[in-house]
Symmetry: D2
Subunit: 287 residues, 4 copies
């Protein structure tokens, strides 16, 4: 497999208005950018325009550093909010985990396969259980216990560690502690959590118990960005599996593990490939 040519990715949102697609496409084309993909979406209800545009860096008229200065006229004319990314810049990912390791295992497998443009720079846990697993894979592991009393200190320690490692995405791989608003604010739209239910059903603790109690015929898992409100952040991806009265809580837990890891990995993939935009507590997924 040859290395694909590096690309630039522009994520855009603005009030919907005549001429916006033509303006965006026209700007890149005028600068000799070969557009590989232009996905756009209009929220008709609120009249907001979203787009993801990807073009080859080879042959593009100017270095990306100059993009803000060059693009400002278009951005101002259409009142555009935008972010720019390069496909050849590897992200720095941290993993937080508690006692259950199935998501961590799956992340390690994806990571080592090379399919993610990211390096795992830190593993943090409130238990020692998975030190061996992390270190076996050559990853720095930090044990930071959390109790109600030490929570503030622990979080300060975590934040320092993450920032020192230059973390730009934090994955909660079944990390069973609730993060404080301060922690969340330190990494806005950069923390991805996997919740073991089909949100908004069964938010909070022990969702498999609640699902069993309610007698649902399908269970699910939800990957979402973490916000200050528990299990209320923008949903990135969900998936489900059929169950029956025969499955006890233990079976739901077991079947759910395979769901959780797959849903989380899909969300990470999209995040790392700049395919997600957040708007009004929802995600636009340019999958």
């Amino acid at each position: 497999m040859p290395t694909p040519c590096p690309t630039a990715i522009l994520l855009v949102s603005c009030p919907d208005q005549r001429g916006i697609v033509a303006a965006l496409a026209g700007f890149i084309t005028a600068q000799h950018g070969n557009i590989l993909a232009l996905d756009q979406y209009v929220d008709a209800q609120d009249a907001v325009f979203f787009a993801r545009m990807e073009w080859e860096l080879e042959g593009f008229a100017f270095p990306l550093e100059e993009f803000p200065a060059r693009f400002v006229a278009v951005a101002d004319a259409f009142d555009i909010t935008w972010t720019l990314h390069r496909s050849d810049k590897r992200r720095r990912m941290a993993i937080m985990v508690s006692k259950q390791a199935h998501c961590l295992y799956d992340i390690l497998a994806h990571h080592e396969s090379g399919e993610w443009p990211a390096d795992i720079v830190q593993v943090i846990s409130n238990h020692e259980d998975h030190r061996h697993l992390a270190e076996r894979h050559g990853l720095p592991f930090a044990y930071i216990p959390v109790t109600p009393d030490t929570k503030a200190t622990a979080e300060a320690q975590q934040i320092e560690l993450l920032q020192k490692a230059g973390t730009d995405v934090v994955v909660l791989a079944r990390y069973m502690q609730i993060l404080s608003p301060a922690f969340v604010q330190a990494f806005p739209t950069k923390i991805i959590n996997i919740h073991h239910s089909f949100l908004p059903a069964f938010a909070g603790g022990r969702p498999y118990h609640a699902a069993h109690e309610r007698g649902v015929k399908i269970i699910g898992a939800t990957a979402h960005y973490v916000t200050a409100e528990l299990d209320e952040g923008p949903i990135i991806e969900q998936d489900v599996i059929r169950v029956s009265h025969r499955q006890g809580v233990d079976d739901l837990v077991r079947l759910g593990r395979d769901l959780e890891k797959v849903v989380l990995s899909r969300a990470i993939y999209w995040h790392l490939h700049h395919r997600l935009l957040v708007y009004k507590n929802r995600t636009v997924v340019f999958a």
Copy 2:
């Protein structure tokens, strides 16, 4: 397709205990019943035993009318709660509908295909819209408008009509009125509703609006027995379909229609074939 030999179906629940399966199977076999299916399930948590046993009537030692008297010794010994049914007895089904007709259409198609051992004895609506559709299919249609003021009278009228028609199952095919506890009590575990969300998420009104607002990536539909508490009855069947940010509320409504009708029809099928047992607000589905 030859008519299958008529069968008896026994639905059973009792405290779990040694020897129960042997006792049930032994009783039927001793009476020369050829057992076609014995599905059993033990709720390990509560130590409750459930079973569905089906045997051929041909060659069975005594007429089913004598079953209670003959079975009483076994039933008493194991503290069994049971119901007995015949596969060749057609059920009398009533449909209640409001303005949306997709579930009604689907019920008519299933009904006319002959796959359900049931006759539709009455269609009731709080609107005149679908009189023509019902009557085109030769079904008695009753228009009973419901307003906050007339609700009690309207329900009395409905109950009278249903009882006069000898109704033993009521299907709410997107009937958009909430039934009073009194109505529900008149048809215990005999009213099946289709709710247009993946319960317990988005109970109550306008679930597709709520699902869109929350930004879920999958929507669902839920068929359940109606109890006194709105959308809280035992779930019979659920199914889901994947959506994305591109689907507005109108799209969810449209996609949901195909889900709703299919989920409702599956629930009706199981109910009519005596494959459902209710326990602790959950269903055991011997599918």
Copy 3:
């Protein structure tokens, strides 16, 4: 629900090349067209560009009749193959059916709900069974029996009937006769069939028997455009349902019916809304 403003829809394919998106969007914008959606896709392997562009007719600079003459410069410059459609033009749909009526029922329900911009102009069957159903819904029904000996004559009769009715889409709603290449050629990319298996598995006759024989754990249905080769046309949509060893052939047939009708209706919806492009015996679905 207010009637949405009529739109124009342009479906485009051409060799992939720099500037194509900008040229398309620029052309419509320059003519004061408000672009509601621009979905594009590049087949990277073959370097082919596809797009669906929809814009409001209100305010557009010229009547659509002039589009070919006006667009020719762009089309020539980029070697574009295109078709143009109006959202306010109702299609003329014919249904062909045999003995199984579940897809026909479902089509009638969708049709009468008003969600399809189409009129059903003719129902044709090789059996008399469903005359009553069609006529009950006010639709012209033609009984054209087909035997090996009369097939050529029967097809000539069918084609004449369809052409006289101004048919522009033919839906095979479980029509169990194989169409000759001549028939297919008379309606290129205008005949949609539902096959009762997950193609390419179990092409040809009796797919549920074959699926049962093979012991698959999931069955499917496939809607596709009909080509001269049986069950080999471009796939439009597929869906599946889980089964187990417990389901006999009769159960697969029964469960499959709900799949077939839903898959077929989704395919019809996309076709009627000009969301399908065919390329190399595959479909691009701008869903």
Copy 4:
């Protein structure tokens, strides 16, 4: 979680006949066995009866070693073919793998979680790539290269290694060599393979390329027992994921990996828990 009480599991098949369920349940009950589950299924077409019966060893009247002698009268009377298993006997599992490691990673995660009553006794590969991974997890790794010329020798070496390790289940975790009939015969109904398509569609090599070429809208994975005929063995489990024209072959490969590992792990789970019976090249799954 307390260790559950050890159980005995009896898998049974025989001609369907009156009294079989009563005889089985009666025999165990008479020997003071507490039946935890009795799942039965009758293939109506061929009149064959299948059952899985599980009972607690505690309190059972005799040691399992005596089962054959004690059960012979029942077995003879009903012409029963049976196998007997203990839940507390750990299986000895071997893994064969080539260059793709995603299934191996997933197996390691399941294995180390303790949810499988099995020990991994050997990993065999025709490449050196994953020696480090296996050894990191403390597993014996054997590199046995295979070329057309050395295939017979290599297989002899593999069989010897597997037999010396006391292997009673062989998992082909994306092992890309075709096993000879002799190899297969050495481990009858003991080799589980994962095929990266929804069989019987796309058997053989490069199924994702074939799926892309055919333009399917859903891809799948299939776990099956290996028989002498390639990709023709009894299917244990299948699952699918929706794709669109946007996914190139590389995307199908990537999405398929998550399917393959999950499907394979489910099949292993059922096999290890004695929930599978093979009949006429199909499986009965007492899930």
